[in-house]
Amino acid sequence: MANGDGMNRRRFLKVLGAAGGGAAALSGCSGDATDKLIPYLVPPDNQIPGIATWYASTCRECPAGCGVHARVREGRVVKVEGNPESPVNRGRLCARGLASLQGLYNPDRIRGPMAKGASGEFEPISWDDAIARITERLQGATGDLIRFVTGNEAGTFDRLVTEWLRALGAADPVVYEPFGYEALRHASRQVFGVDQLPRYDFGAARYVISFGADFLETWLSPVEHARGFAEGHGYRDGSMGRYVHVEPRMSMTGMSADEWIAPRPGSEALLALGMAHVIVTERLVPRQPDTFRVEQLLDAHAPADVAERTGIAAATIERLAREFVAEPSVAAAGGVGAQHEQAHVTAAAVNVLNYVAGNIGRTVLYGADLNPAGPSSYAELGSLVRAMRNGGVGVLFVHGVNPAHAAPAGTDFAGAMERVGFSVSFSRFWDETAMHADLVLPDHDPLEQWNDFEPRAGAYALQQPVMQPVFDTRQSGDVLLAVARQAGGTIAARFTAETYKDYLQQGWQRLQRQLGDFRPFDAFWTEALQRGGVWRDAPARAVRLARTVTDLQEPATRSAPLDALTLIAYPSSALYDGRGANRPWLQELPDPVTKMTWSTWVEIHPETAAARGIREGDILEVTTSAGTVEAPAYLYPGLRRDVIAMPLGQGHTAFGRYAEGRGANVYALLSTDVTDFGGFSHYAASTLRHTGRHEYLAKTEGKSRQMGRGIAQAVTLAALQHGEHGEEHGGHAAPVPEHVEQLLDEVQEAQDADTRYGDYAGDLPRWALAVDLSKCTGCSACVTACHSENNIPTVGPDLVRRGREMAWIRIERYFEGGEDGEPLEARVLPMMCQQCGHAPCEPVCPVFAAYSTPDGLNGQVYNRCVGTRYCSNNCPYKVRYFNWFDHQNPADPAFSFPDPLHWLLNPDVTVRSKGVMEKCTFCVQRIRGKQHDAKLAGRELEDGEILTACQQTCPSDAIVFGDLNDPSSRVHQLSRDERGYSVLGDLNTRPGVTYLRKVRNLTVDEA
């Protein structure tokens, strides 16, 4: 562990300042050595300068609880990656998890305890003072006046808070997560009488139907789902799964679907019941026990009955039902894509569907209670706010959640805080809640603290501080313990732990006994730390239909005004509920669907827009019963014509430089009405007004159609099974006679022979990549991983509008069809440097800054680059990125790494200065690092030993890296796959990247 041993924070910073050589700029070399080299006072354990140390911990960016490995160099974390031992994410991580680093190093973190002074301004105070103030306030308040709001804290901290509150005689904490799965829980209770969230095993399902569940983006545990989905749905050996997505809007998850069905908003339950009806009445599968309980309900929902109300043809419903039971299947519901006021009915109907199809216990697993949000409830938050307004709260603590922003704006948590006698925020950032608190006691970042988290029953994930705290922050657990100690008396007596770490270990000692592990605790603890936690399979729990299922009412289809459009407010897959908005990587991460960055937008169907005279970028005023916001229009064909959609997450009034004042707060459009399931609705009837203003959209996309160029290719499963491998593109090429081909080959060989001089002679690897488009979901985790690995600057919305984003890998999203009755299809393709064998970029560089390395990369020597930009003109893939400004220079307005954000710079990668071209080189620093290791160990490199950053994090394992010249390598085999093709291969660039065509599993009538 990174132990301090007397080295205080300031000194630590100094150490970093010098050792962080990677932060050095690509400026000219100068002889005047004024830089300081500062050694450690005492050598930290396991740390060798120049060698990375890895620590296991747990990601706390969302309630999924993925395990992470933090890469530490010279005492600072430079990257987080997935922990392969965690059963949740198996070594993979999403964009938000990768960007947790920018939470740690966020320049707008609160740097020490602050108290609101008489003037209303925050002033720094000491920790002792802060603890004294809390103690004093608590002593002046009776237990019923003390309230505590936490985010999702399933684990020891939650126990500590509960215990601490109980010691004070106060009520248990209110747990609030904006996307709290109240509907799913409600449905489990209603249908099965179980207050649990099941685990969905997408890997075991060959047929997936999702009723609005965005399970690849934010729903429950997206990384786990993506892995499972790729396994179950991805094409392998002539077969693949089939995925049907049911949602009025085609979300990113929906883009992966083989079929997208857009029902009337709010009618998903009817479709599920209709399918269940077919399964039960036609006895497509053996009848499940207790089916009689739902028979009456199903009787009323024959496909013909629901067809009108769902807008889906009866034949389609019947087909879906038959398909659903033909193979191992799973139906998922309740994501925010269907989070309307009837969401619990949808979830319950889908539970019934899964039940009658026999999926419960096979692909829908109860027992391993997913704890993504704990018993979160918007209803409880609502009653707390009422209590606050009525003066019923004397002391309020808020930890790990920002209800002043991430709740329907009418909740007005901030306003209610003004009525609270004394409010304490443990926020790490100046978010909207912290701004209204009286005392702000910044918590450690999850990467700086001891803690644990239970993503599901049986999975105990540990967090350990992987580096010294960056600022003068303190673990909130330690604060609570200190308050208890200072309060004295019975409260102090209840907490024997000196520190939160001790408290944590006490809990883990109990856990060890529970698990029946009788080793010395140290051994158990060390192993858990090394592995990132303790993983046990939770026993499965058999469930049957509960009596309450008969209470299931069919959803009341709302009758909205005719001209009204249903607004769907969905969580941004990057910013989530808004907590990611202060991370520039996430702000700049193009939305997987719209490719928008740094902003809020209104998605509207092109035909709806045309009918209303709306063009892309027109600023629209969206009004619902709850409020009005303005945002530019984005024309999106993946919507029903009577629906508009807006992403949540922006519109912060605080939360630091990257978040504040950006986009619009869509929570302002959501009603505060508590739904039957205790949550709030993400749907609202809305009207649009064109403001007459216009804005150039900050999107990274040029054209959304491929114009028949075959960039992202697809093939139908049926065609593949008939031996047809894919689309023909650029069909102009006449067949080349054999003798001509032979001649061409000879010329080519002769030319190749003329390149084998010096370093180019001998047996050399050819580094290559294979990307399976049947697995890629477009989630864009690779983009953020690349940012993190390669020190890529973020440029901000104005430069994105100028097309100057720098991400070396981008996910291209193309639409097919969607017009003239053709079903809409979305295709995604990760585009990075193709490392061409005959790279057009290279010969045009006058100074050899771009050249072929002997191991088949297109090397880019930044310090040699003069900046003619010819290489980029000549790159057909447009994967070269120019430094228009000096993003690495603190004196430049375009500086991308304000202190301490520059600490996340990878010391193994040069930070580029203005005027040079940069690009992907397959993480050449990782290649060289592994080559050094192998050489020093006197062995050969193994296939799979080198992982590129994008490959490492890809949740669906779509990217494979390796040596093309090694016939036994995975990439070599994939490059010869029947689905393999090169993008723009007709240009004879001989790319090192092989794409495997996406496979579309269409039904007979679709195909």
């Binding site: 030319q751 390149t755 064998g837 050249y851 072929s852």
Partner: protein
């Protein structure tokens, strides 16, 4: 003007045929050291003087050949000095280097021509008396000769139609 020239007779002519005739006459009389000034190059005069074709063209040829050779030498040697492969092309690709060789051919050829011009003009420089009118509209003939022969030359020139004849010492 400088006075470093040897003494002689300077004559100015208005008419080109008169001047040409005078030159021929001087040549016939065996005067070798004759300098003719003309405002523009003139074939008649040149024929009268009877020079061989200027050797400057040899310079051009040699310069061009040298440029061409050095163009190929430079590019090929530099390519193999540190072999770097770009776009899968041979390390030393002669075809694109033709462009460089061509440009150097021209550059060296032109440079050599100028050098040749300067060199030969310097070698064949004629020290003689001069008058500003000779770059305007008159033709000048300067005959360097010892004092004793001057009257004869002066006589010849005057009779050949010179508008002015003067003795330069």
């Amino acid at each position: 003007m400088n006075k470093t020239h040897p003494g002689g007779i300077l004559a100015a002519y208005q008419h080109v045929d008169a001047a040409a005739a005078a030159i021929k006459a001087l040549k016939a009389k065996g005067y070798r050291d004759v300098t003719v000034y003309t405002p523009v190059p003139n074939v008649e005069i040149a024929q009268a003087v009877g020079h061989k074709v200027s050797p400057v063209r040899l310079w051009t040829l040699l310069g061009g050949l040298l440029g061409c050779a050095s163009g190929f030498a430079l590019t090929l040697w530099m390519s193999y000095d540190w072999p770097l492969v770009v776009g899968g092309k041979p390390v030393g690709s002669v075809i694109p280097y033709v462009v460089i060789a061509f440009e150097l051919t021209i550059l060296f050829g032109a440079g050599a021509t100028i050098l040749g011009l300067l060199f030969h003009s310097w070698r064949t420089r004629q020290a003689g008396a001069y008058d500003g009118r000779f770059t305007d509209d008159q033709i000048g003939i300067f005959v360097a000769c010892p004092v004793e022969r001057r009257p004869a030359v002066e006589e010849l020139l005057r009779h050949s139609g010179a508008v002015e004849v003067r003795v330069e010492t």
